[in-house]
């Protein structure tokens, strides 16, 4: 047997977290950062191996829970690799950006004092360990080839994320409430997925073989009955709660507002992608027939999310909530692209998952910095920041433009592909969704104007004495670079993703509509 690269990749952050917990002599955040960087290197190595030897050489399969048909089975397809790379890039940057979180620096001590004794503010050590635990769980989900293995880590990721929100936000009472809400929504969604998962197993057993392998399940014919529709609804509800779609979104703005910038970047950038990722893995690949059956409703919900998220973002006073609502709008685009079922929109959607992680991750990190400096997340508390901290303003603008899908940024490519695919199938929907794009320009630019431009207010002058430090720049520059690089040269990423979307198209038995060209036929 060859070396289990995929297991090593996913287990490494876990080992780092354990090391931080056990060895108190070493600096926790240093061990955390080194682990995250080694994981990044390993992730790049795995990408290279996949390109060199093919995905089959990397796949691992060990007996795990045979009496229920489950196995410990990892594999890496293009979509999985894209998400893995996003994760391993984002995590070290989050650790760099949040280097001071939980340390005994002046600000943190004051904050701890304000919380009152024993309010449970976490330490820097705990922060690094929890971030690594979330990374490990997410990587396992992206690599899982077995439905039950997928579920196990899908659910397990909630526990460290809960502690990240509960231990490191601003206000002790509010962050605890937000963390509980996050956990309960997550666990409720998870249990609905458990229902669907059990149903999948039963359908497979009915079909003749008790297996939980996603590839084998895709080959079985699970669909075509009322029960399979029930199972499909179960999966969709679970994932729609995770990648929050209206009306199951209420936990996200609250949880984001109470997180640190890095915590929110991790939650929205990586963890919520498990939802859209799961939609591809389960809803589309295992139950294509049911997916087509439910398409009208799902498209409706997606458009609702796009518009509701955008309008709600316009109305927010709190910056973190604002970005959270823009994410809900973006998740609407992703779901829209997925269930439109064209090669272009599928590829665009999956690419969108990566781009959204990059731009929203950068935005949350920058806003996290601003909130730490200012001590408030209110939009009205800022003004004229660009004059005092031009680099901060420039970076925020670039990340924001990435969010509104300006041509030249990577989001443009993905959003355009989604819209092109949607237009080919449902042109009315495309018009409505385009409205979301217009609103995106509005909420990003208007917010930028209120934060950064205008005369320097007293409070801004008082709190923003310096621009981003070298460390803080280092945390964001790779993301901004990636946004631009993938904006101008999206081909490598698209080549990675396209095989996955073609597989989905084959599974779903759908072909792209022939382009209608005037004058031909």
């Amino acid at each position: 047997m060859t070396f289990p690269w995929l297991t090593a990749l996913a287990v490494l952050p876990l080992l780092g977290a354990v090391l931080i917990g056990l060895v108190k002599v070493w600096s926790g955040r240093l061990v955390g950062l080194i682990t995250a960087l080694v994981t990044l290197a390993l992730g790049a190595g795995v990408a290279w191996l996949q390109a060199a030897d093919g995905a089959a050489a990397l796949a691992e399969r060990v007996t795990w829970l045979a009496p229920l048909g489950a196995a410990y089975s990892l594999s890496l397809d293009g979509m999985g690799l894209a998400m893995v790379l996003l994760t391993v890039v984002l995590v070290p940057l989050i650790l760099i950006a949040e280097w001071r979180t939980g340390t005994g620096s002046a600000g943190a001590a004051e904050a701890a004092e304000a919380d009152g004794p024993g309010s449970g503010r976490g330490s820097a050590r705990a922060f690094s360990a929890l971030v690594l635990l979330v990374e490990s769980c997410s990587l396992f989900v992206f690599l899982a080839e077995d439905a039950i293995l997928f579920y196990v880590f899908f659910e397990a990721s909630l526990i460290p994320m809960y502690f990240l929100i509960a231990g490191f936000g601003s206000d002790p009472v509010k962050r605890s409430a937000a963390a509980v809400k996050f956990l309960l929504f997550g666990l409720a969604g998870g249990l609905v997925m458990l229902f669907a998962l059990v149903g999948t197993g039963a359908l497979a057993a009915q079909g003749g073989s008790l297996t939980m392998s996603l590839t084998e399940l895709a080959d079985l014919d699970l669909g075509g009955s009322t029960l399979s529709q029930v199972v499909f609804i179960g999966f969709f509800v679970a994932f729609a709660l995770k990648a929050p779609m209206v009306p199951g979104h209420t936990w996200l703005p609250q949880a984001a507002a109470q997180s640190t910038g890095g915590g929110a970047a991790l939650m929205v950038g990586v963890l919520d992608k498990l939802g859209t990722f799961g939609m591809v893995r389960f809803c589309l690949v295992l139950f294509p027939q049911e997916a087509r059956w439910a398409t009208p409703v799902i498209i409706g919900l997606a458009v609702l999310s796009i518009l509701y998220g955008a309008f709600a973002a316009l109305g927010q006073k709190d910056l973190m909530r604002l970005v959270a609502f823009t994410s809900i709008s973006h998740f609407g685009f992703m779901v829209l692209g997925l269930f439109t079922l064209t090669t272009a929109s599928l590829t665009g959607s999956i690419f969108y998952m990566v781009n959204h992680g990059l731009s929203t991750g950068a935005l949350f990190l920058l806003i996290g910095y601003m909130v730490r400096q200012r001590g408030s997340a209110e939009v009205s508390a800022f003004g004229g920041v660009a004059k005092v901290a031009p680099v901060l303003a420039g970076f925020t603008l670039l990340a924001g433009l990435g969010g509104l899908a300006l041509p030249g940024t990577s989001s443009f490519v993905s959003e355009f592909m989604v819209m092109a695919g949607v237009w080919a199938r449902f042109n009315v929907v495309a018009v409505l969704a385009a409205l979301g794009t217009v609103l995106a320009a509005l909420y990003i630019l208007w917010t930028y104007q209120r934060l950064m431009t205008g005369p320097v207010t007293d409070q801004t002058a008082q709190h923003f004495t310096a621009d981003l430090s070298a460390r803080e720049r280092l945390a964001v520059i790779p993301l901004l670079f990636a946004i631009l690089a993938l904006g101008f040269f999206p081909r490598p990423a698209l080549d990675l993703i396209e095989p996955t979307s073609q597989t989905i198209m084959t599974e779903a038995g759908v072909t792209d509509l022939a382009p209608i060209v005037k004058g031909v036929n």
Partner: protein
């Protein structure tokens, strides 16, 4: 006297396979020996001798189970059967699995009962059970540091009843075992050192309701006898197969027998004893009761339903499903409003009875089309009980440590912030509560997955839907405690005692077990799947 009566008085001894019964015999012999020890050994040594005797007996019993693993036997053959031998005690795969689980959990419970360090050098039981609470005699006994060591033989007697309960293939024997397991528990529940009135009230409630349940059970046995002309499970099954007409006798008898067993399981609507009894009984006894009684009752229910009434499953499946629905809903919903951790765990135990019953309702066995190496109802129930038992004993062990002025503090409000102040304590509660909530990477998740799969494959998909909705509520019950432990400001009212060696063993075993069976559930699941077939003495 007259010759006509003589044949009835004639006694044919049953054939008994003593070697196969050894695990059970060891326990009951040690219990009897414990009574002698209590009478003759010097007071100062009694506790140590009793603990040693109980531990040795349990380990020996476990070794005997393991050494006889895999060989099925009609351990006691009824002499008055038809031409072929009919077993009234079966030592088969399920018996051995559940025996081993009973012995393991009894071992952990005995460790908790033996703990003295956390109670300032004395055990958790009343110094003089006969003294009136608050009386002079009680105070004197307390000052003299008297201890009750009868708890160990009582626990062993109860355990022997449970072991017989699991193996019994005969209604009358089942009833005898039921009483043998129950009576010592009633006494044990009354023995708390502190809050003795509550403890006695708990015991009395348990006794009165338990006695009523036993009476109903016995009446059910009588009706089933009237139906089948025999107490033996196999002969009842035979009778059913032969198409006996008097169906009403069968269903009435089945219903009444079910009441008795569901009472022991703690299923709604026969659950009302559980919260009071769990709260009032000494915590180590509660742990023993909550885990071992449930294992024994579920195992007995499985054998009764599958061996005696397997062919009639279409009729009892909806009954079990209905009971499961109300149990799953009532347990968690009432669990939300509890302010006492022991009551909360009681409602949690009720909820788990409901989840467990979903697997029973599925009735997935080899007879109903299960492949031999897959998890069926029996194996999934076994896994579920294992996970539930580990997490529940772990929780109760943690409960014994939270004290103020030498008394356990079970009010949840006093538990605020303890997980953060004592990270090891927080870790124990985190793992155990997550396992009870069924979060992945703990044994509880695999258990839930197993019983739900069985329920769905047995045709009860709507029951799984109800179950996950109930599980959402149940999750909230546990999350509430976790939030209290980790996110609330710490209170200084209580201290968390460092566990003595015995309790430390329990905490370690439960945490490691809960994680191990979550991370690597395969070996246990395989083992259970292989030993899930009931031995039947009549094949038809």
């Amino acid at each position: 006297m007259t010759a006509a009566v003589l044949p009835l008085l004639e006694f044919t001894p049953p054939t008994i396979d003593y070697v196969r019964l050894l695990p059970f015999l060891i326990v009951i012999a040690a219990a009897c020996l414990g009574v002698v020890v209590e009478a003759f050994v010097r007071r100062t040594w009694r506790h140590e001798v009793q603990v040693g005797l109980a531990l040795v007996a349990l380990v020996a019993s476990g070794a005997a189970i393991v050494s006889g693993w895999g060989s099925d036997s009609l351990a006691v053959v009824d002499p008055i059967g038809p031409d072929q031998p009919v077993g009234s005690v079966m030592v088969d795969g399920p018996t051995q699995v559940f025996w081993l689980m009973l012995v393991l959990f009894a071992l952990l419970a005995v460790c908790l009962m033996a703990e003295r360090r956390v109670y300032a050098g004395r055990n958790a039981f009343a110094p003089m059970a006969a003294a009136i609470p608050g009386s002079q005699a009680e105070a004197e006994a307390d000052q003299a540091s008297l201890e009750h060591a009868e708890v160990f033989p009582l626990a062993l007697f109860s355990l022997s009843g449970m072991m017989l309960f699991v193996a019994a293939n005969d209604l009358l024997l089942l009833f005898v075992a039921l009483e043998v397991l129950s009576l010592p528990l009633y006494v044990l529940a009354a023995l708390a050192r502190h809050r003795r009135l509550a403890s006695q009230e708990a015991a009395l409630k348990y006794f009165l309701l338990g006695a009523a349940a036993s009476a109903i059970f016995l009446f059910g046995c009588a009706l089933l006898f009237a139906y089948a002309g025999s107490f033996d499970f196999d002969l009842i099954a035979l009778r059913y197969d032969q198409g006996a007409a008097a169906d009403r006798l069968l269903w009435a008898g089945l219903g009444l027998v079910l009441v008795g067993l569901l009472f022991k399981i703690g299923a709604v609507p026969f659950h009302s004893w559980a919260p009071d009894t769990y709260q009032g009984a000494p915590t180590p006894v509660t742990a023993f009761m909550a885990v071992c009684t449930k294992i024994a009752a579920v195992a007995a229910l499985l054998r009764l339903l599958f061996v005696a009434l397997g062919a009639a499953r279409w009729t009892w499946q909806p009954i079990i499903a209905g009971v499961a629905v109300v149990t799953m809903l009532v347990g968690p919903v009432l669990g939300i409003v509890q302010s006492n951790i022991k009551r909360l765990l009681a409602y949690s135990s009720i909820a788990h009875a409901g989840f467990l019953l979903t697997g029973l309702a599925g009735a997935l066995t080899v007879q109903s089309g299960l492949a031999a190496d897959q998890l069926g109802t029996v194996a999934s129930a076994g896994f579920y009980l294992m996970a539930y038992g580990l997490a529940t004993i772990g929780c109760f062990a943690a409960v014994t440590l939270v004290q103020s002025q030498g008394r356990e503090v079970t009010e949840l409000s006093a538990w605020a912030g303890l997980g953060r102040r004592h990270p090891w304590f927080g870790l124990v509660m985190l793992v155990c509560l997550l396992s009870l909530a069924g979060i992945p990477l703990t044994a509880g998740f695999t258990g839930k997955l197993a019983v739900f799969s069985v329920a769905w494959r047995g045709g009860y998909w709507w029951l799984v839907l109800v179950a996950v909705l109930a599980a959402v509520v149940a999750v909230y019950v546990y999350v509430r405690v976790l939030v209290l432990l980790f996110s609330r400001p710490a209170s200084d009212q209580v201290e968390v005692k460092l566990p003595g060696p015995a309790t430390a063993v329990v905490l370690t075993v439960t945490v490691i077990g809960s994680l191990a069976f979550g991370l690597v559930p395969g070996p246990l699941a395989d083992l259970l799947a292989q030993s899930s077939t009931f031995l039947r003495s009549v094949h038809n």
